[in-house]
């Protein structure tokens, strides 16, 4: 019996690990969108984070530098988006799409020399406690620091948005940039900051993939996770806690359907692979039915270009 429980614990640990990049990227994008900016470049920023993290690890042999570098590179590439949409007033959707395409191409180019190089072992915390407790051990212990951070992040984000002054200002800008500007709030500065923060989080999400989850560089290794993160934010109706739930469901069903495939159930593989997407959407739609809450949480100005009257 204890073997079975332990197996479920390991399974849950694996699910948690697979949802980390989604939580990180979606939490970052959530802040960006709450300020009224729709950045569809999540996938691009993630993959840039993944390659720069991996490349830095290979070059410097220092994981700390690699992680910080991946966040910086996500941030830097999001500056391009910021300058275009906030200073040059380009369309958010088109610019975001361009950013994704740019990121994927750029990462493939840089990554050419890093294909096939083995990754470095990332330090895991409380690894000795993992064995001591059946079931709970593999769930709570033996993870990287980034995983712990990721699971804390939605709660921090929630607190930040609801309880702090800066959070209030971000929500206000997302609600009505014109009103905010008339109140003396520097809308462009707020939006820039949110874009950069989103970029950094996407970079970190990418680094988690290439340094910890599958420690190597493979072209296109984000595999659409950026798009899932984007969808999570919307289907979670801009609520950080629901983003966490959605990411866990997605990660959970992804892992479970892999096991089901391995067991050889007589269900078409295509259907099983589609299952995570379908279930995540269904669950999030069901838990976010309250149209009043949707209205209160939706950043009204999402995707709108703001320019100040001179």
């Amino acid at each position: 019996m204890s073997f079975d429980l332990n197996f479920i614990g390991i399974l849950i640990g694996a699910i948690m690990a697979s949802s980390v990049p989604l939580i990180l990227a979606a939490s970052g994008e959530l802040i960006t969108e709450r300020s009224g900016v729709l950045n569809l470049g999540v996938e691009g920023m993630m993959i840039i984070g993944a390659i720069s993290g991996f490349a830095l690890m290979v070059i410097t042999d220092n994981l700390f530098l690699a992680v910080i570098g991946s966040m910086l590179s996500g941030l830097i590439i999001s500056i391009i988006f910021g300058v275009l949409t906030q200073s040059l007033l380009t369309n958010h959707v088109a610019t975001g799409l361009a950013l994704t395409i740019f990121g994927i191409g750029m990462s493939a180019m840089i990554g050419k020399n890093f294909v096939g190089i083995p990754g470095k072992e990332f330090p895991l915390l409380f690894i000795n406690l993992k064995e001591n407790f059946p079931f709970l051990g593999p769930i709570l212990f033996g993870h990287s620091i980034i995983l712990y951070f990721a699971f804390l992040l939605p709660f921090l984000t929630n607190y930040f948005l609801k309880k702090t002054k800066i959070g209030l200002i971000i929500r206000a800008v997302g609600d009505s940039p014109t009103s905010a500007s008339n109140q003396g709030i520097n809308v462009t500065l707020v939006r820039y900051s949110c874009i950069l923060y989103g970029g950094a989080m996407c970079g970190l999400a990418g680094a988690y993939l290439s340094l910890i989850y599958t420690p190597q560089w493979i072209e296109n290794m984000t595999g659409g996770r950026g798009w899932i993160a984007l969808a999570l934010v919307v289907f979670a109706t801009w609520s950080p806690i629901k983003v966490l739930i959605g990411a866990l469901i997605f990660g959970g069903i992804t892992i479970l359907q892999l096991h089901m495939q391995a067991v050889g159930l007589r269900i078409p593989v295509q259907l099983l692979s589609a299952l995570p997407y379908i279930m995540t959407i269904i669950v999030l739609v069901v838990i976010s039915r309250d149209s009043r809450k949707i209205k209160l949480n939706t950043p009204t100005s999402l995707g709108q270009i703001f320019y100040k009257e001179k």
């Binding site: 609600d175 003396g184 709030i185 209160l296 939706t298 001179k310």
Partner: protein, 499 residues
Amino acid sequence: MNTKLKVSNISKTYPGCIANDKVSLEFGSGKIYALLGENGAGKSTLVKILSGVVKPDEGEVFLNDESIKLNSPLDAKKNNIGMVFQHFNLFETLSVFENLSIDSYKKDEDLRALVNEILKKYNFKIDLDIPVLNLSAGQKQKVEIIRCLIRNPKVLIMDEPTSVLTEQETDDLFISLKQFSKDGILIIYITHKLKEVLSLCDEVAVMRKGKVVSVSNTIDEKIESLANKMVGENLNTIKKKINNFKNSEEILKISNLNFKSDDPYETNLNNLNLSLKKGECLGIAGISGNGQNELFQILSGEIIAEGTSIMFRNKEIGRLNPRERREYLMAFSPEDRISQAAVPELKIYENVALNNFKSSNFFEKGLVNEKKIKEHSKKILSNFSVNTDNVELKSQFLSGGNLQKLIIGRELITSPELLVCFNPTWGLDVGAINYIHETLIQINEQGKSSILISTDNDELLKLSDRICVIYKGKLSKIMNADTVTAEKLGILMGGGSID
């Protein structure tokens, strides 16, 4: 506590338009000042300059004889200039308290105490912890005012504050403003409503085409004298003669209109019944958001209300779409000119063609008959004195008044038997309003009927033969216009009842 505010030689030019042309004015505390002018006269630009939203090209602002720089809204706040804009600067999805705390440096508890004190002092009743989108327009305005009062303003500028208020709310606002004035706050009141100037303000400055054309004491002015200064020409006042329709033919009958919406932000309609005689104008008053939108859409066929009977000229049309209803000679002029009535990016003649129905022959074998549409459009432009004869012009370049003339003209040129219009003069200047009013009276005189849904009581009293009030999706009893006063309407609009 004496405050003196002076603007000196302010000029501001936008491409193709001089918004302010060497404007100089002086204000002192203890009085309420009116800044009067038509749309586009430059009032709003001047107040935007005073509140730091817009920078002037030239000129200076002096507060208590000191020149002040107003480069941003923050500068205005620092100089204790408070401003309540016509379009609220509130965050709809945030709570009232969050809206107030966003630009305050006070601790939350201190701010709450201060706000409660203000609420008590001026007898405002607002729940601080509900989202702003649940407030009525009058309450939203109070939130804006409180936001100014928190900062102990020396100057309070109100930009067309009554355009969204009921009569009662307007009275309340005036009482508050007089109280503020007594407390030493200098009040500048921007409006194009002449009555308000006379009942509220001590001094009035009239602006026309960017210039100040007159400054005087309101005691020396009358409605007519102010109107003429504002428009710059002599306006003849129109008055409709009240007819008796007892024996006229019934043209429209609506019975048991019920509408239940899934959207919590729409209003449900509850058992509406009304009938309309040939040649009659039925006015429907009410504060916006009480079901006017839904009623208009049901009349026009944008929404089909299940189980409702709409008899138009003895035919049941309740299930027809807008285009089919037009075939039966109904015409509609929606509230929102830009997004509902016309497509601003399209040319004038294209917008005219949008209103096609079978009998108009604008399209032949699926092709556009451009020549025919253009001729038709030219006829509308000249018959309804739209200020252009270029049918190729994009509609977005027409002023509000001209666009409205085009829309009404497009509807009327087919001589419909019934015109349903919703706030037809909203946001227009006196000249255009007069023209639209004359046109609406004219169609009644020609034996055509009209339903006028409006939030402007003066307009309703001027044009309607019978009037009713819509409140929370219910209609009051329908009254003859000559027995109705603005006061009665105000009571009904606020949910009260009259004998």
